[in-house]
């Protein structure tokens, strides 16, 4: 794709514009549960969660992960993304506001390597992400 979208300059050190997501609500978790099919009660059943010893409802890891994947695709064009991955590093709680960010770590011949993060308002990184992004558009992808 996408000739209609101006792709950002993916030079080493370049950063994508950050995006804030939140404050996250129980409704956000329920909506993602319905979309994904992950109905673990840890994400919407307050008494289940407190009985299990957690301070409150928290997001399924794939929710902030998915937000980060869509954030990246929105900026570089979905067909440019060759690989996207995450490490789940901290829980995201109801009421949190996440900052989504991405930075170009390195560039070689035909692709850029990016480091991404979803960071809680406390400064704690909830998702550490990485991606490989093609420098030229790849219609076959």
């Amino acid at each position: 794709m996408s000739t209609s979208q101006a792709l950002p300059e993916l030079a080493p050190g370049a950063e994508l514009p950050q995006r804030e997501l939140g404050p996250l609500t129980e409704g956000d978790f329920v909506r993602f549960a319905g979309a994904s099919g992950d109905f673990n009660p840890l994400h919407y059943d307050e008494s289940f969660v407190t009985d299990a010893g957690y301070p409150g409802l928290f997001a399924m890891g794939l929710f902030p992960c998915g937000a980060l994947a869509h954030y990246l695709a929105g900026h570089v064009g979905q067909t440019s993304v060759r690989e996207f991955g995450v490490r789940f590093t901290a829980l995201v709680y109801e009421g949190d506001t996440l900052t989504l960010s991405a930075r170009v770590a390195s560039v070689d011949e035909d692709e850029a390597s990016l480091e991404l993060a979803a960071t809680r308002q406390t400064g704690e990184m909830a998702i550490r992400g990485f991606a490989r992004v093609a420098l030229a558009s790849e219609p076959g992808r």
Binding site: M1, A35, G37, L62, F63, A69, G85
Partner: protein, 151 residues
């Protein structure tokens, strides 16, 4: 305790359609209002052959496998209560659009045991799910790392 011979073994298979409603639901759930995920005209104007799948579309496999992943984790010989989903990644090998039919085959690709920093052996199991479309092309590979903390 996990049997190291599970490496290479097929855990399960899933057949699933790429549904227009699911693509929209996933995009809305992560607050992405890009019209390519709901409007075929907007998708075409952006150069797609149809509404593209969300980059995390494969999460809906949970709907189609007909069993939850806790059962899969138990069958691997892991203790569900000590297992965390540590990492996930997707390699995008080809285009996926609404209307496609995907066939996913999930395998164990690695089992590693190491001494945890707090004592007790930690087991890391890597799974790979390869998705093939209705034309027989591999379009997506998903990798997951499950971490079983020491008892």
């Amino acid at each position: 305790v996990i049997d190291p011979d599970v490496v290479g073994q097929v855990l399960d298979e899933v057949r699933m359609p790429v549904e227009r409603g699911k693509v929209l639901e996933l995009a809305r759930a992560v607050h992405d209002d890009n019209p390519i995920y709901r409007d075929p005209e907007a998708a075409r104007a952006a150069g797609f052959d149809g509404i593209p799948a969300s980059p995390i579309l494969s999460v809906v496999a949970m709907h189609w496998r007909g069993r939850d992943d806790d059962r899969m984790v138990e069958e691997l010989g892991l203790d569900v209560a000590r297992v965390l989903h540590g990492e996930a990644s997707w390699s995008y090998e080809g285009p996926i659009h609404v209307g496609d039919e995907l066939h996913g085959v999930r395998r164990v690709t690695d089992v590693t045991t190491k001494q945890g920093s707090l004592g007790g052996a930690m087991t890391i199991v890597t799974l790979e799910t390869e998705y093939t479309n209705q034309h027989g092309s591999v379009v997506l590979r998903q990798r997951d790392k499950l971490i079983e903390r020491g008892a």
